[in-house]
């Protein structure tokens, strides 16, 4: 039983990470109906941005709290800028193209970003030990051990998600985002600058992905150029699980997936070898039996 709860809490940590990345998928999909396949790489590059700052720029005398804050900020900015750049250069010219085109482009962007880091980052093919800037230590909650880092990951993720929610549901820009997601043409007629809204959406997704990159480094150092691929796929699964386009759903989906994965790794025979397959199994099951996801509303086909 104790082991069960331990896996459960590990799943929560993992889930927080997936949820942060999933939000980027879900928002972008909600607005432009594109599976931003390169989102995992945006997350990965964010982690490298944070690593670069720490490794090459920050003086080692800097107190680790401040360093962590700066690393986090720079990682978020890196990802956000990259996301905006990719949107502008790769996706925007294809806005009215047949559906397959942007998806294939996204795959190309994803490969190009991975390879850029591998080839052009100093010694980029080798994993980089991520700086551990958070105090070590554990809390024991009735036999379940959580590190301080775990708690930090969960709480930071929750704070960011609540901030996002507030932004989307309370601010004028957020309202414009929701309007664009509902009906871009009408939104444009109502004076919404949809191009700007789309960029903002990518930037928001990027900010969260960058933060996730740092958290990934904290719980699973080292980072390398490949971490984006699997993480991205799992986060996408989380977004679909929750009901794509639905912000609350992405969070719920992220945590659900994290927990399923942690439990399955423990309890399915040969589980750790199959670890990365559970997400796909979940994805297939969800799409087959409830394609609209946990919170998705049933979408009527346009007749």
């Amino acid at each position: 039983m104790q082991q069960f709860f331990q896996q459960l809490s590990d799943g929560l940590v993992l889930g927080a990470l997936y949820a942060l990345i999933a939000l980027g998928y879900t928002m972008v999909y909600g607005i432009v109906q594109l599976i931003n396949f390169a989102h995992g790489e945006i997350f990965m590059v964010g982690a490298f941005g944070g690593y670069t700052l720490y490794h090459y720029v920050l003086p080692s005398s800097l107190p680790s709290g401040i360093a962590l804050l700066l690393v986090l900020l720079v990682a978020m900015l890196t990802s956000a800028l990259l996301a905006a750049f990719v949107e502008r250069v790769a996706y925007r010219p294809l806005r009215n193209a047949p559906r397959l085109a942007p998806l294939i482009t996204a795959i190309g962007v994803s490969i190009a970003l991975q390879e850029s880091i591998r080839l052009f980052y100093p010694n980029g093919s080798v994993g980089k030990p991520f700086p551990q800037l958070f105090p070590r230590g554990t809390v024991d909650l009735g036999g379940v051990t959580l590190t301080y880092v775990d708690l930090f990951v969960i709480s930071l993720a929750l704070v960011l998600m609540l901030t996002l929610r507030t932004f989307v549901f309370r601010s004028a820009t957020g309202r414009a985002m929701r309007a664009t997601a509902q009906d871009p043409d009408t939104a444009r007629l109502m004076g919404v600058d949809t191009d700007r809204i789309i960029v903002i959406t990518f930037v928001l997704g990027g900010l969260l992905a960058g933060a996730a990159g740092v958290l990934q480094g904290m719980i699973a150092s080292p980072i390398d150029f490949k971490i984006g691929f699997i993480a991205g796929l799992k986060a996408f699964t989380a977004a679909v699980l929750g009901g794509i386009g639905n912000i609350t759903g992405a969070v719920l989906g992220g945590f659900t997936l994290g927990i399923v994965e942690a439990l399955a790794t423990q309890y399915v025979p040969n589980g750790s070898a199959l670890k990365d397959s559970f997400a796909f199994v979940v994805l297939v099951l969800v799409l087959v039996f409830r394609p609209t996801g946990l919170l998705g509303e049933s979408v009527r086909s346009r007749a």
Partner: protein, 553 residues
Amino acid sequence: MTAALLDRVATSAERLRSHGTRLSPSLAAAAFVLVVVGTNLPWATFSGFPGLMSLALYPAGSRIYVLALAPALALVAVRFSRRRQAGLAATLALLAVVVQTIIAIARDGGGLVNVSVGAWVTLLGALLGVAAFVALPDDGAPLPRSWPVLPALVEALAVVFAVAASLALLVYALDVEAPSQFVGFLLALGGGLVALNRLGLFEWLGALYARRQALTLVLMAAAAVTFPFTQGGSSYWLRVAANVGVFAAAAIGLNVVVGLAGLLDLGYIAFFGVGAYVAALYGNAGLGPSRGHLPFLAVIVLGALVSGLVGVLIGAPTLRLRGDYLAIVTLGFGEIFHTLVNTYDAYTGGPNGLSNIPDLRQGSFDFGLPHTVFGVELAGFANYYYLELVLVALVMFVFARLNASRIGRAWVAIREDELAASAMGINTVSYKLLAFGIGATLAGASGTVQAHVATQVSPDSFVFLQSVFLLAAVVLGGMGTVPGAVVGAAILIAVPEKLRAFSDYRLLLFGLLLVILMRFRPEGMIPSRRRQREFHDADGADALSAPPGSAVA
């Protein structure tokens, strides 16, 4: 600062253009003279750079490519043509070849001082040449849409010439040894093709092909059969060509799924893998639980059937999904296949895979041995090459026939508008399943051959990237066309083989290729008429010239 500069450049370009009609021929003439003179002067101060670049009056190496593009300038100089778009493509390619060669010489020689006078003269000529075409006014009236129908004999000769020229170009390209020269060749070829395309040559050839289909097919088949005889007993390019065949056959299968039915399958390589494992386990390697051997034809059929069955099993529950969801689910299945093969290693060999798969034997005929045909010794891989040729021809045939039938129309209708297709009485789910199953079957068949060509199977040959690779072959060649997938596979396999010096950058270039392709030529190199119209909205009156029901869309 920069903005002011750009403004200045723009105004002078504008001014240049207003004088363009008068100025261009003189500019082009000067450019042409400089290019001809420059290519006959030495380009490098040191000997040893590929193409004998230190010799004068001997335009070899990349200098040939420069000269080959120069006629574009001459045509403007003598006021024969004023095609701005085509000329710009040719001269920009010319400039690119010169710049790339200068960089390569400087790198090999240890600095720009080792670049000799000829290169600089040619560079000046190239710049003038670009200016000459920038100065021209826009093309104005487009080329005539319908090319004249020429006498049958002339058309037939044109087809013969086009096929022969392609084969010659291919054989020449494979012979270019130095990577830097090959890059120059690719730049020149690319520019030349774009220029010819803008002159409408390929549209004409396409129309010609539609009219003289049988002849063209026979000639292309003849060219393909001749290819091993040009290799002087060497097996290197035959091995590559056999690989092209393997992937081309699979890519055509994927083309049914993506190009016709419009379903994006990102786990397609798994079906190929199923075929390869079937061949390894039940073929003459006999690695399966029964240790049994099946004759090769039975293995192909078994691989195709098992793979098709897997395709249907996977497709049945998932094909109701919308397009991009389907893409991700297929990706998931592809990864699951990879993990399963990796993990459950009782028969699959786990991560190490299965190796030492013997060459095929049919009766007393060993596919691994060289054979002498008409007094010419053909290396062992020629056997696989010919096997692949048959397989590809078969697959192309199936594709073309299906495409031209009621079934092909149903697929395209589903791709265009699923709801409307169902209102036409098409059972969309079962037709999508059919496309998926046929794609999987074809992939499985070519996978069985792959196991023997590569002599091994391992899970890492069946990963997501390989699915993307096949997809790229389809997209590069042209979605929904028969020759497209073959051309795409050939380019994606042969070009990296020539550019081994840059092999580290292969994937990066590959990713960028996908992005650039989707941006600028989403219909691929050999577009289906349908797709071309879909991606580039054409204006009102464009009837399709091919009769409905012609074998190639």
